[in-house]
């Protein structure tokens, strides 16, 4: 049993052709998911019971079920309803890419909102008391004290979630999307060479992950520049 390096050299460019789709899924879902997460966070800390409850239920459901099931429900399940098929969203929802982005967004939104909430709760209460003592309103404290500090505190956990999101994009291959994993599976089906193809693909993902970690490291160091003593 030999390791066919030639095959790797042939398949890599094919798989990397899917990089564009992988990136598209990652960036669009990541961005929209972040917006959703902020919305859910504000609902959670709004103090209004009905908003908090709705957000909690949403987060509970989306963190408690496998993302693959969520993808299938949206892509295969929604077309079951005529109302969906005739709505204005149909042209997005009939496309696998649109469904994948929707599913990934809804999923990452739930996780990231909890991460942001953790960051908000970690802000030193004393600083908020100082703000109160100075007469700042709740809104002013949230904007000028909580948000800058919570952002920095959330960053490590957030970077982990972005990496998870990257890995989840591979699931798009299960609904016919030709991202890197989708292409890889086609190649393996043709060549019966799972080791060469999948291992080289894994290396691509690992490099990508490594790059993301470095990027977040830079961002983290930049945001912490005034709060860490240079010894």
């Amino acid at each position: 049993m030999s390791f066919d390096f030639n095959l790797i050299l042939q398949s890599l460019p094919q798989m990397l052709a899917g990089l564009g789709i992988t990136l598209q899924l990652l960036l669009v879902s990541g961005f929209l998911g972040l917006l959703l997460a902020i919305l859910l966070l504000l609902m959670r800390i709004s103090g209004k019971l009905y908003l908090n409850s709705i957000a909690q239920v949403y987060i509970f459901v989306f963190r408690g079920t496998p993302i693959l099931v969520q993808i299938f429900i949206i892509y295969y399940g929604l077309p079951q309803f005529e109302a969906i098929r005739e709505s204005m969203f149909w042209h997005i929802l009939r496309e696998p890419t649109g469904c994948a982005i929707l599913a990934l967004t809804l999923n990452t939104g739930a996780y990231v909102s909890e991460i942001l909430r953790g960051g908000v709760l970690s802000v030193d209460k004393g600083l908020l008391e100082a703000g109160s003592a100075l007469g700042m309103s709740a809104r002013q404290k949230f904007i000028y004290i909580t948000t800058p500090l919570a952002t920095r505190l959330s960053l490590p956990a957030y970077s982990n979630d972005v990496i998870s999101l990257l890995k989840s994009t591979a699931l798009a291959s299960t609904i016919t999307i030709t991202d890197m994993t989708g292409i890889a599976r086609t190649i393996v089906a043709d060549t019966y060479a799972p080791y060469e193809v999948f291992i080289s693909l894994a290396v691509v993902y690992i490099i990508f992950t490594f790059g993301l970690q470095k990027l977040f490291g830079v961002i983290e160091r930049y945001l912490s520049r005034h709060t860490v003593r240079e010894e």
Binding site: G64, T169, T174, P194
Partner: protein
């Protein structure tokens, strides 16, 4: 709703499979996590490098890819080996249950490595010093001081690992494991109701997640019953 009649049985057995995977992978995940943590804490540079490589590989590769690689790769390897002994054999494969279980155990195990390592290092050094000063042996210190504090520190992230194992089980349906998602796919070809069928899958997984989350909360309360602030 009546469309589900006749399928409840299959879903039930699918859920049993999910539970079986959970138990098997939980055991393996703990094993891999402890070995990995042990290697990282050992002081042997070789062990640390190996463990680090393990962590990087399995935290950076999409879960679905690991599952596919393990399943198809092991089939190819085993077939090749078997053909050495008996050229008549066309195909040997590893049961999807084991390929999938080992795959997800390796993946979540790489996260568990960090959790266990962090828990070990998180034990209050003062407690250890006090124990040694009182004359307790290394083993006694480990059993009576280290471990009780370690499991309490590790519990919240460990709960998350258990949730990951549960949800990753759905991915194993892709290689043919007869769990709930797989059942749903079959049910859909007969009933033509994808939404309904996948929602049931979601509900089953949500049920498992809830049980795990509540159990962890209960154990946390038990663990903290003598801590500051406990009522």
């Amino acid at each position: 709703m009546e469309v589900l009649n006749g399928w409840w049985d299959d879903y039930f057995w699918g859920a049993i499979v999910v539970a079986e995977v959970f138990i098997a992978s939980l055991f393996l995940m703990i094993l891999f996590g402890l070995i990995g943590a042990g290697a990282k804490l050992s002081g042997s540079r070789l062990a640390q490098k190996t463990a680090n490589t393990y962590t990087v590989i399995f935290r950076g590769t999409p879960e679905i890819l690991v599952i596919l690689l393990l399943y198809y790769g092991s089939a190819i390897t085993l077939t090749a080996i078997a053909q050495i002994f008996n050229p008549e054999i066309r195909f040997v494969d590893v049961p999807p249950f084991w390929a999938g279980t080992i795959a997800i155990s390796l993946i979540v195990g790489s996260y568990a490595t960090e959790t266990f390592r962090g828990a070990f290092l998180g034990v209050n050094p003062g407690s250890i010093e006090a124990a040694r000063a009182l004359g307790m042996s290394t083993l006694q210190t480990f059993i009576y001081i280290r471990i009780p504090e370690m499991w309490r520190i590790a519990l919240p992230p460990f709960g998350n690992h258990m949730l990951s194992l549960t949800k990753d089980t759905a991915l194993i349906s892709i290689i043919g494991l007869n769990e709930t998602l797989f059942v749903a796919k079959q049910a859909i070809t007969v009933t033509g109701k994808p939404f309904t069928m996948y929602i049931v899958v979601g509900a089953i997984y949500l049920g498992f997640s809830t049980i795990i989350t509540l159990s962890v909360m209960g154990i946390e309360k038990f663990g903290n019953r003598t801590s500051v602030g406990a009522k």
